[in-house]
């Protein structure tokens, strides 16, 4: 183990070593990336859907009140 053992990267000697994932970076990062993208997309899509549902309520009622 190198000099950074006690540092921020713990068991990794450098950022590039961390990103390389022992040669498996091309498999590890797409897995985590796709998971992150899907989960964040779902939350954003639901926020938009909720806002749209609230906006539709106002239209139904013909009101333009302030909506939180």
């Amino acid at each position: 183990m190198g000099a950074d053992r006690e540092g921020l990267l713990m068991q990794w000697n450098s950022l590039s070593e961390f990103l390389a994932m022992g040669g498996y970076g091309v498999y590890v990062w797409p897995s985590f990336g796709m998971t992150a993208v899907c989960m964040m997309w779902e939350v954003l899509a639901l926020r938009r859907r909720h806002a749209a549902a609230r906006a539709a309520l106002v239209q139904t009622d013909g009101m333009t009140d302030v909506i939180s």
């Binding site: 713990m10 068991q11 498999y27 797409p30 897995s31 796709m34 539709a56 939180s68």
Partner: protein, 247 residues
């Protein structure tokens, strides 16, 4: 608590569920983020490199929690569907409907991350083996429940029909889980066993467990967010919804 004094049906109206879900969402979301952050830290910086698979094994920290959630959410969805059919409670059907897309998402992620783990370990993105095939069928089952509901205009019929479909499909969940034991398969056995000593290092198990807890909390938060959307969309003409718009 005295069980006989609790009116369980007080939560059985969309009107009660909407604000209750709203209060839960922020707490559950924060806990979920904390768990996922801790799980990622443990998984990437504390858990050691595997002596057989190298660092490719780290995909386990998203793959196994996603696969667990895909099966667990199906059972929860079918549970709400059964409750709706038995008690004729609309919020139960709404919960079943709210869980389905998240279950489908985790099924897709289990298959996707599995492919990216299969390539370096087995040399193939996909094999038609029992575990992978039954998990793919689970994705089609979620799609079937969502599409059947969307294709029927009468909401009460849509609720009942998709609930029946969800219930019938439950048989596939034990098939997925036990497929690695019942058939010869490339897929490795269960990561966690109640009877055998753990095969993984403690830090690996901890990272996987905390990630699974984070995904579970995430699923709860997202299902509650979606059920609030469904309530607003379906109950928009109810008088209580009209007062909700100002809050």
């Amino acid at each position: 608590m005295k069980m006989d004094h609790i009116n369980w049906f007080q939560w059985s109206s969309p009107q009660a569920l909407y604000p209750f879900a709203g209060r839960l969402i922020s707490w559950v979301s924060v806990l979920s983020l904390l768990c996922i952050a801790a799980g990622l830290y443990l998984g990437f910086f504390v858990a050691p490199t595997d002596f057989q698979q190298g660092d490719s094994y780290r995909i386990i920290f998203v793959h196994v929690p996603a696969a667990w959630m895909s099966m667990f959410l199906y059972i929860v969805m079918a549970g709400w569907a059964a409750l709706g059919l038995g008690l004729k409670t609309r919020p139960s059907f709404m919960m079943a409907q709210a869980i389905a897309p998240t279950g489908a998402l985790f099924t897709f992620l289990a298959l996707f991350t599995g492919a990216f783990w299969g390539k370096p370990t087995w040399g193939s993105w996909w094999v038609w083996d029992a575990r992978l095939t039954s998990e793919l069928i689970l994705l089609f089952q979620y799609a079937g429940v969502i599409l059947l509901h969307a294709s029927i205009d009468d909401l009460r019929r849509a609720d009942r029909a998709s609930a029946v479909l969800a219930l019938v499909g439950v048989v596939n969940v034990p098939i997925i889980y036990f497929s690695v034991r019942w058939w010869n398969t490339l897929h490795q056995g269960a990561s966690i066993s109640m009877t055998a000593a753990p095969k993984m290092a403690t830090t690996m198990l901890a990272a996987m467990g905390i990630m699974a807890l984070g995904f579970w909390l995430y699923s709860a938060a997202v299902a509650l967010m979606r059920v609030r959307c469904i309530i607003l969309e379906r109950e928009r003409h109810a008088s209580w919804v009209q007062t909700e718009r100002a809050s």
